[in-house]
């Protein structure tokens, strides 16, 4: 039985936290995704998420806060990629080196962990009912921070992403901005790992913006559409997952992928 909505009304109050967390992450992921796409950082997102997974797994093993561990792993990866991989080609090889290392370490920590199986699996494939209040407070704090900083750097970051040379000539601190962006990306990944899991962070941080870019290039429209697509994917995914009692990620990724396919078809038909 994939869907069972008979006791849905009873379940809804239990997932309120998850819905709020999902909405926050969708807004953050949709907006960050615009820059992930324009700065050609999709692969880097994957690399950061594996180290974030490793950090979270070790935190689980050590009995400390999983969110903190996940943030720690994310920021280490984002910092390494930001500092060592200024050029796209170098960046890709650094990511390819970090990714298996992170995944391996994470699996090691999880294998040694003796606790609940639900938590283990959740870090890779996402979880829904597990969002408790302290965790929600963390996510909300991170999200508000990311959105505030993103609003502050939006315009110069767009300039630097389009044409770093000209932006620098105009006085845009391009180097500082790429490090700030890596910090925001690291935090966004760490937060997303909590809900969709490390393997599927791309569906939240890359796919919605990639889909939006297929149908428009108007800056504001790309940002709005990307957020809408992310919201539909995450909230829709959570609501369906509750009915099925399965992990949230297959639903989120399927909706997100479907939106992407539809956008590609729309782009095709228009030409």
């Amino acid at each position: 039985m994939i869907f069972n909505f008979s006791d849905y009304a009873d379940l809804l109050p239990l997932i309120t936290n998850s819905l709020i967390a999902g909405a926050l992450l969708a807004i953050v992921g949709g907006l960050i995704g615009v820059f992930v796409n324009t700065r050609d950082m999709s692969f880097a997102v994957h690399g950061i998420s594996e180290l974030s997974f490793a950090g979270a797994s070790f935190a689980l093993l050590a009995g400390t806060d999983v969110v903190l561990g996940s943030i720690f792993g994310s920021l280490v990866a984002a910092g390494l990629i930001g500092v060592l991989g200024a050029k796209a080609r170098e960046r890709n090889s650094i990511v390819a080196v970090l990714m298996p290392a992170g995944l391996g370490l994470g699996i090691l920590a999880i294998s040694l962990y003796q606790g609940q199986a639900l938590n283990k699996f959740g870090l890779l494939t996402g979880q829904i009912v597990a969002v408790d209040l302290p965790q929600l407070a963390w996510l909300a704090g991170i999200s508000v921070f990311i959105l505030a900083v993103l609003a502050l750097v939006w315009r110069p970051l767009a300039f630097a992403s389009l044409d770093p040379e000209v932006a620098e000539a105009r006085g845009v601190p391009t180097r500082l901005l790429s490090l700030v962006f890596m910090l925001l990306l690291g935090l966004a990944v760490a937060a997303s790992v909590q809900v969709v899991g490390a393997l599927l962070v791309l569906s939240l941080l890359v796919t919605p913006a990639a889909a939006a870019l297929r149908v428009t290039k108007v800056p504001a429209a790309v940002a709005v559409l990307s957020v809408v697509f992310a919201l539909v994917s995450v909230l829709g995914g959570i609501l369906l997952a509750v009915g099925a009692g399965l992990p949230i990620s297959p639903y989120v990724t399927s909706i997100s992928f479907l939106i992407y396919v539809v956008c590609r078809v729309i782009e095709r038909v228009r030409k």
Binding site: V153, R155, D163, E168, R170, G171, L213, K217, V218, V222
Partner: protein
């Protein structure tokens, strides 16, 4: 209409640029007045781009000083409009041609790019100047090389800079596009009394606009009008080898520089 100062826009005094033992240029003195159009010519590695970077405050001189509007150079000068070498933009860029223009006006400011009436008016004015209304709402990733360079010129002049620095803005463009982009830069400097430093390896598309030539080669340089500098005896002395300057139907061809032998399809290298 503001009255611009008649003092020099750019003063380069006794400037040297060297990387270790390799001296690109030394003892360079150049004063550029408003409205002047200077072509910077020289072989690859002669320090043309380094000169622009030094004026932009992105590279330190080994010795000497550069002043823009009387003030020592600093990073990020709003009085300078910079046009880079042509490079395509990513097809994924979430930006229309008009958004690219607008970045020249306020792209360096923090915050969200909210649109005001003043900004829109300014963008529309520049669209008039570069004849870009038809292309304004196209994604930048879909513009052709010449179209994109026209908008890059617009982006460089939208804030009415006193000095326009152009680094090989015509490379990778066909002849017709080269002429259109060069004319646009020329019109902008006439309208705004801006000075232009135009780095190029082919002086022909801009020959009619150039007031003076700065020719860099072999760690040395010559400055003067095109007729003073682009002569066989002057360039032969500069290169230390026999160089012939040929004039044919208003075009200038330089034969005999070493670079020329490697790039037979380029008139200037």
């Amino acid at each position: 209409m503001t009255i611009k100062a008649t003092s020099p826009v750019l003063q380069i005094s006794d400037a040297t640029m060297a990387y270790g033992d390799k001296v690109l240029w030394t003892g360079l003195n150049l004063t550029v007045q408003p409205h002047e159009f200077i072509a910077v010519i020289g072989s690859n590695g002669s320090g043309k781009t380094s000169l622009l970077h030094a004026i932009l405050g992105q590279e330190q001189l080994t010795a000497g000083q550069i002043r823009v509007n009387g003030k020592p150079v600093r990073r990020g000068n709003k009085n300078i409009g910079y046009i880079p070498q042509h490079r395509g933009t990513d097809a994924n860029t979430p930006m229309r041609a008009r958004d690219l223009l607008r970045l020249g006006l306020d792209g360096h400011r923090w915050g969200l790019p909210l649109t005001g009436r003043r900004v829109t008016a300014r963008v529309n004015h520049v669209l008039d100047c570069i004849d870009g209304h038809d292309l304004a709402d196209k994604p930048v990733g879909t513009l052709s090389g010449g179209q994109l360079q026209r908008f890059r010129v617009g982006q460089a002049v939208i804030a009415s800079p006193d000095l326009i620095l152009a680094d090989e803005p015509l490379s990778a463009l066909d002849l017709q596009q080269q002429q259109a982009v060069a004319n646009l830069i020329d019109e902008e400097r006439r309208e705004h009394e801006a000075a232009v430093l135009f780095v190029t390896h082919d002086v022909n598309p801009i020959l009619g606009m150039v007031d003076r030539v700065l020719y860099l080669a072999n760690g040395q340089f010559r400055i003067g009008t095109p007729d003073e500098v682009l002569r066989s005896e002057v360039l032969s002395e500069l290169y230390g080898t026999q160089v012939d300057v040929l004039r044919n139907q208003g075009r200038i061809v330089v034969v005999g520089t070493h670079e020329h032998e490697h790039h037979p399809d380029e008139e200037w290298s």
